[in-house]
Amino acid sequence: MSEGEVTRLLVAWREGDTRALDTLMPYVYDELRRLAHVHLLKERDGHTLSTTALVHEAYLNLAGQDPLYLENRSHFFAIACRVMRRLLIWYARRRKSGKRGGGSEHASLDTAAVLADDRVEELLWLDQALGKLESFDERMCRVVECRYFGGLSVEETAEVLAVSPATVKRDWQTARTWLRVELTR
């Protein structure tokens, strides 16, 4: 996909074309996964990785010199955080099924030690709870995606979702409280 095409899709999505998002998603998956691989290889040589840098790099690779850089970048980050939520949940599901089924030797090869078992359960539960939250408070769900799955800071989240940092702070606080309640229900 050309750089211009990515930009066009981002604009279309901003203007409410949901199909644009569907077209874009597979590319964002691919690019994020590719970059994550690259970073993992480099990390052994002492490089450190920030998720923001990862997403930013993915954006530059996909969209290139984008004239609508500032607006599109934010939207791209929002998509990337959603993608990351899906990827992480897929990972957790697979990790769980690898534990359960036969032939777990192979599964444990690449999933070993990345994530503790209780974290796997937490992630799967969180995904379900977020599904519920999304049905009555979409923005709050996005905030959790950005903060927890995307690893963005309060300020970055505010920029991505085009709200004030104070709103993000309050959303994040309330969301966590609600999720804590949800966990005990």
Partner: protein
């Protein structure tokens, strides 16, 4: 909870927690206004908020963990494809009709999904580089491979899933189609010819099918019902799935193995390398089946041993003997002979190319005598050559036979003078037409030497004396060609560098004598300059760079007056080639800047000439060599970005174009192999491991193909060794030391074998030494200092006879310095691990000795390299400080 309720819950809760604790109860009660649902929700939130228990959301996922999870997560569906429905079940997996999720490609594809492939880390890379090679196949008769990849498992599938997306072909297997439509023999042959053309196209691209059978050969009527079109599926896939199938695998594979076995050649059963001749055999079986509706062997119910015996030994009945009576007559004769030739047990006695098979069928259809008919004289000549060496290319055989026969008869029947003319004409034909025809034919390296040698033999037997200058020039040219095939590193050669050197020397002497006769003759001058240049090439590849530089300078001096008088393309091209070579020798001598200047000056001329003569292969290859030499120079002077740019934007596009134009040309292939190798090295230097891996894999695959096409080609083996070395680098850098050692050991094994083919070859010894040094460095990096010592010592031993103590000998000299340095470092590190004082002292002394030797060499080498040590394995500073540490350690 509804959106509205939540809005209110949220507002009340968020306002409450802004208040002092004491006022909250009252506020909430008032705000909820007796609504029990609201009251309940807000209270739960407040409770949770106020008891402040630690919660997992408070701790972010560490970013490295997050990256790892992203990298390992599977995608939806299978890769970028959504499955529509199942098309069929094969031995290796299921084939689905699928479409791209993103809708980027509208047409559906046939998605072959291979489950239960073991998830080796190289699998994805292998898929990727194979896919690039298969991308070269572009033929209407071959279903295109659109995409290939490896994805992590679907939800509960523990192993990796590999997929191949191929052009979807609605059609019937060729055998079913023929029976269903009751096609005549002629119609069947037309379909078979289409199939031959497609297979030939793949073979020209050095891709072997390996698994030709009716289910892989579909007939489709998409264009029109009256013009059926052949489509071959799964080209090169057998190899992709199973790079090294062995014979037992072939026999015991469950499912449709019986089907596959019927088309497997005797050599596949014997576990020998599979090449184009195995596809030709499979085509023979198919032709048999198309003509008779029966297979050549009845294998049902046989034990695996009996199947092998049957296929490897039993001669099948002639097609005309088993066909239906109405076809018998049309099969007897030509078609029987053609089928049996393709089915021959010995690959050497089959058709040598699919094109020959194709042409014979064409001849049969056009009622022209086919070639496959036994020709007793040709057959006898073939046997004669076979006794001397196996695997002669058919083309070589025919002309050899012509020459042999002509000489034999002329000896008895014709006058001596007539004989002389005759032989001379034939020898010249051998040198020009046949050599040109054989030049880039895969598998013909030995045949070329034979041809040049025979021509020379006959020229020499004439002894026309030094007055016959035309004859002298012919002889010199024969020697040149002989040398080229014996061991000129610029060509596919037999690796006999010392023989090549001697032959070039003979040519030089003849031309020098001619030049003495008449130094104003431009033809003699050009010939002499080329001879000097050839000697320069050989000197340099034997490690004698100073000599090479002086020879190249002489060559340029001899040529200079010709260039001045006649700056025509033929002359300027000689000049720029010589200048480019001079540049390279200078670079290897450490005089990088000077060398690069010569190369860039030469490049301007070659680029111009190459652009105006796009069909001149030699010129195009000259241009690649210039790029290659420059890359080397740029690397040595640490201008990695410039080098990367040159490779990516000039050299690789140039070579890719060349490979497309000359698909069977091994020199173009070797160029591509080398270019990707360099590319990988440069990526690696920039820490871009992912790109480096792709480049190295492409490089290794290209080399593998070359070895498959011609196992006597020394350059192909060198390529393979470079490929292993590259993988070793990659593993070493990413810390997979055991794997690195495996790869380097494969490199070493090839290098030692190549050395034994030619023990006089200094470059070969240097390459062995380098392979040992790499093993040493890998062990050193893995902190196995004890294990590092032995290969380091080997590395030194291999170079010792190559350098005499006094003269400075460029790169080989420098390598010896590196060997001593690494041995010193290994010993010093080992000393640090040794507690026992006496043993420790001994190790330090030994280390100091090697540091001293290294220092003595490197100081000279440093001066020679104009003080540039940035690209060295260790810098002068590092060497000196390591040495100083040892001295400190030795002090009481």
């Amino acid at each position: 909870m509804t959106r509205e309720t939540w809005e209110r819950v949220r507002m009340i809760f968020e306002s409450a927690i802004e208040l002092p604790v004491a006022q909250r109860d009252g506020f909430v009660r008032k705000a909820c206004d007796g609504d029990p649902v609201l009251w309940n929700e807000v209270s739960l939130l407040r409770l949770s908020e106020e008891n402040g228990r630690r919660f997992f959301l408070d701790e972010p996922i560490p970013s490295a963990v997050r990256a790892e999870m992203i990298a390992l997560s599977p995608m939806g569906a299978i890769g970028p494809y959504r499955i529509i429905h199942t098309l069929g079940q094969g031995g290796m997996g299921t084939v689905y009709l699928a479409e791209r999720i993103d809708g980027l490609v509208q047409r559906p594809v046939a998605l072959k999904v291979l489950r239960y492939v073991s998830a080796s880390p190289d699998l994805a890379q292998r898929f990727d580089s194979e896919r690039r090679i298969l991308d070269r196949l572009n033929h209407t008769g071959i279903a295109r491979l659109i995409d290939a990849g490896v994805v992590s498992p679907l939800s509960d599938e523990p192993q990796a899933v590999a997929y191949l997306a191929m052009e979807y072909v609605p059609g019937l297997p060729i055998t079913d189609y023929c029976i269903k439509n009751d096609l005549s023999v002629g119609q069947r042959l037309e379909l078979f010819l289409q199939m031959c053309k497609a297979v030939q196209h793949a073979h020209q691209n050095l891709i072997v099918h390996r698994d030709l059978k009716p289910s892989n050969i579909l007939v489709t009527e998409t264009a029109s019902p009256n013009s059926p079109v052949i489509k071959l599926l799964d080209f090169g896939i057998a190899k992709l799935i199973q790079p090294n199938p062995d014979a037992t695998e072939l026999q015991t594979r469950p499912g449709q193995s019986r089907m596959t076995i019927a088309y497997a050649s005797p050599e596949q059963f014997r576990g020998e390398p599979v090449a184009t001749h195995s596809d030709i055999y499979a085509l023979g079986v198919l032709l048999y089946e198309l003509l008779t509706d029966k297979r050549p062997y009845v294998l049902t119910g046989l034990s695996p041993g009996a199947v092998e015996a049957c296929i490897c030994e039993q001669i099948p009945p002639l097609p005309s003997q088993v066909a239906y009576t109405d076809r018998m007559k049309s099969l007897r004769g030509d078609l029987d002979t053609i089928v049996m030739k393709a089915l021959h047990k010995s690959p050497a006695r089959r058709y040598q190319t699919v094109l020959e098979l194709h042409d014979d069928i064409r001849r049969h259809l056009a009622l022209i005598p086919v070639r496959a008919r036994p020709d007793s004289r040709l057959y006898r000549a073939a046997r004669f050559v076979q006794r001397h060496r196996a695997g002669v290319v058919a083309c070589g055989l025919i002309l050899f036979a012509v020459l042999f026969g002509a000489v034999a008869t002329s000896l008895q029947a014709r006058k001596a003078e007539y004989r002389a003319t005759q032989v001379r004409t034939l020898a010249t034909t051998l040198l020009t037409d046949l050599d040109l025809a054989l030049r880039d034919l895969p598998g013909a390296t030995r045949a070329r030497e034979l041809v040049a040698g025979t021509a020379l033999l006959y020229l020499d037997s004439l002894d026309l004396g030094s007055q016959d200058t035309a004859w002298q020039l012919e002889r010199a040219r024969a020697y040149d060609l002989l040398a080229r095939h014996q061991g000129d590193p610029h060509f596919d050669n037999l690796g006999r560098l010392s023989d090549a050197m001697a032959s070039y020397q003979r040519a030089y002497e003849i031309r020098l004598a001619l030049w003495h006769q008449d130094s104003t003759n431009t033809t003699y001058r050009r010939a002499l300059a080329n001879s000097l240049g050839n000697l320069g090439v050989m000197s340099s590849w034997n490690g004698k760079n100073t000599e090479a530089i002086s020879l190249s300078r002489q060559a340029l001096t001899v040529l200079a007056p010709v260039v001045l008088a006649d700056p025509s393309p033929t002359v300027t091209r000689d000049e720029s080639r010589l200048r480019g070579e001079l540049g390279w020798w200078l670079i290897w001598e450490g005089r990088t800047e000077e060398g690069l200047r010569e190369l860039q000056q030469a490049m301007i001329t070659i680029e111009r000439l190459a652009a105006s003569n796009p069909n001149d292969l030699e010129l195009q290859l000259d241009l690649w060599r210039n790029y290659w030499y420059q890359t080397d120079g740029l690397k040595f002077s640490s201008k990695d970005t410039v080098a990367l740019n040159l490779l990516q934007h000039k050299a690789i596009p140039h070579l890719e174009q060349l490979v497309v134009t000359y698909p069977t040309n091994p020199r173009a292939q070797y160029g591509l192999h080398t270019a990707f190798y360099f590319l990988g090295e440069l990526f690696l230097a920039q820490n871009d491991t992912a790109s480096a891996r792709v480049a190295f894999q492409t490089s290794l695959q290209t080399a593998r193909r070359m070895v498959e096409a011609d196992s006597s080609n020394r350059k192909a083996h060198e390529g393979l060794s470079f490929g292993f070395r590259a993988l070793g680098h990659l593993y070493r850098v990413s810390g997979a030391f055991e794997k690195a050692i495996d790869a380097y050991s494969s490199d070493l094994a090839i290098r030692i074998r190549l050395y034994h083919d030619d023990p006089q070859n200094q470059e070969a010894a240097n390459a062995v030494s380098n392979a040992f040094r790499l093993l040493c460095r890998t062990r050193y990096a893995s902190r196995d200092f004890e294990g590092a010592v032995a290969p380091c010592k080997e590395a030194i031993t291999w170079l010792a006879p190559q350098v005499d103590g006094t003269s400075v000998q460029g790169v080989i000299w420098g390598n010896l310095g590196f060997n001593h340095g690494w041995l010193g470092m290994s010993l010093a590190a080992l000393a640090e691990q040794t507690a026992q004082p006496a043993a420790r002292h001994q190790l330090l002394l030994e280390a100091l000795n090697h540091f001293d030797q290294s220092h003595a060499i490197m100081t000279q080498y440093y001066r020679q390299s104009e003080g540039n040590d940035a690209a060295w394995e260790f810098t002068m500073d590092e060497l000196v400080s390591s040495r100083n540490r040892v001295i400190t350690g030795l002090q009481p």
